[in-house]
Symmetry: C2
Subunit: 250 residues, 2 copies
């Protein structure tokens, strides 16, 4: 097959082991030869573990509100407490599902608090500032390897009107999160209306297709997005958060 | 780079010209040598054109309700009429944006009615039954080439809480739309909770990253998803529609 102007390639990076708090993720990623224009999509889980965003449930003392909500939802009150601590707003609490708006502005199940792929009596929280995490990883890679691939930190989110989860960008550095195509002419010369591609989310989704969900493939290398990779770190995935006021879908 | 168990590749098919009503899309796609396990992500716009799902605005006589809504939203009343005809429910009408639930169950802006990349005084509507469109394209390819790649028909949708649009699957045939991973063990042997990958949507998103938005690259070939490609056509993208009753995000 030839003739297409663009070509996307996504493949897991080999050899990222089980991550412990304090692990040097950039060092692990630098073991692969990276190029300018590369995009590395890193699973939130390993970033959270490396940053110590792990809580032992035995250390959590749930409030009365958390206990009440937990009883309603048939959930562990300590997990509900952690979810509430991470959230600014409860969007929906019903049938065992707790959907909140996190401090970052993400609307997702359980505020990203997750017990899978965490050893023992512990859960991971989302990184405190995923865009800052992405910038730090990028800077560390630049320092070690001389090249600065773009970094996307991704998590799997459910959606409002569609079943199944997709990976989305919760943090990024060096990748244009949105490509504003409004005002550009279409193939017939007419102006395109309201086309603004969520580049970072589509990159995360492409990575989601090759990632081993059992959690052993924490980093996916995406090639073919050079035109969206920038020298500066840019606005990050914060630029993908629709404010409550702007949210016409609510 | 080696060692990753999976590798995804996405690239536009060359040589799909401007599509006229009645065009033989399968014939155009068959010009590329396809393999079993391939996935072709076809832009909704060309499917709609080939199927004659095009309306001239001069032929539309807007109702009183369409005129009223059009005045509120500062839109063309004839376009509003077409949107209402395609919809079962208005989700939101404000600030120039009309979000509805289509007959298919999709929640999107303008019910998919779109004036871009359509010549003259005309707009395209979504295919009447995009899963049936995908099945027909697959059958036609099987007949012509002896191979039956999976077909995804995609459109760009906005999202509830996130800015920017992503391509999603509005129709599919021969691709598992969702991969239910609930109950499988994670890397540490614990059961994964609520992980159900929206495969068809992630495939559409990957295609969105390489598609030329000016509309000249109507079909994207995605390789590396063989494990999700099935001999039978399967449930289609209808399996991605969350019913109003099930929609915990509302």
């Amino acid at each position: 097959v030839s003739g297409g102007s663009l070509r996307l390639n996504a493949q897991p990076l080999p050899g990222i082991p089980e991550i412990e708090p304090g692990a040097d993720l950039a060092e692990l990623m630098a073991a692969t030869r990276l190029m300018e224009g590369d995009v590395l999509v890193v699973a939130q889980k390993v970033v959270s573990k490396a940053e110590g965003r792990v809580r032992r449930l035995a250390d959590v003392d749930p409030s009365a509100r958390a206990r009440e909500l937990a009883a309603e939802l048939d959930k562990d009150a300590r997990i509900v407490q952690l979810i509430l601590d991470e959230s600014v707003d409860v969007v929906r609490a019903a049938r065992g599902v707790l959907i909140t708006r996190t401090r970052h502005g993400f609307v997702c199940a359980n505020a990203g608090v997750d017990a899978s792929n965490v050893p023992g009596d512990a859960v991971t929280l989302l990184p405190d500032d995923p865009d800052a995490s992405a910038r730090r990883l990028r800077a560390a890679l630049r320092e070690r390897t001389g090249t600065a691939p773009a970094i996307v930190i991704s998590d799997s989110f459910g959606r409002a009107w569609r079943l199944g989860q997709v990976e989305v960008a919760i943090g990024c550095a060096g990748l244009e999160p949105r490509d504003d195509q409004r005002g550009r002419p279409d193939a017939l010369g007419a102006e395109l209306s309201a086309t603004e591609l969520a580049v970072a989310d589509e990159a995360a989704a492409a990575a989601g297709l090759v990632r081993d969900k059992a959690g052993r493939e924490a980093v996916v290398l995406v090639r073919g997005l050079e035109r969206y990779v920038t020298a500066d770190d840019g606005p990050g995935a914060a630029a993908l958060v629709r404010s409550r006021e702007e949210d016409l879908f609510r």
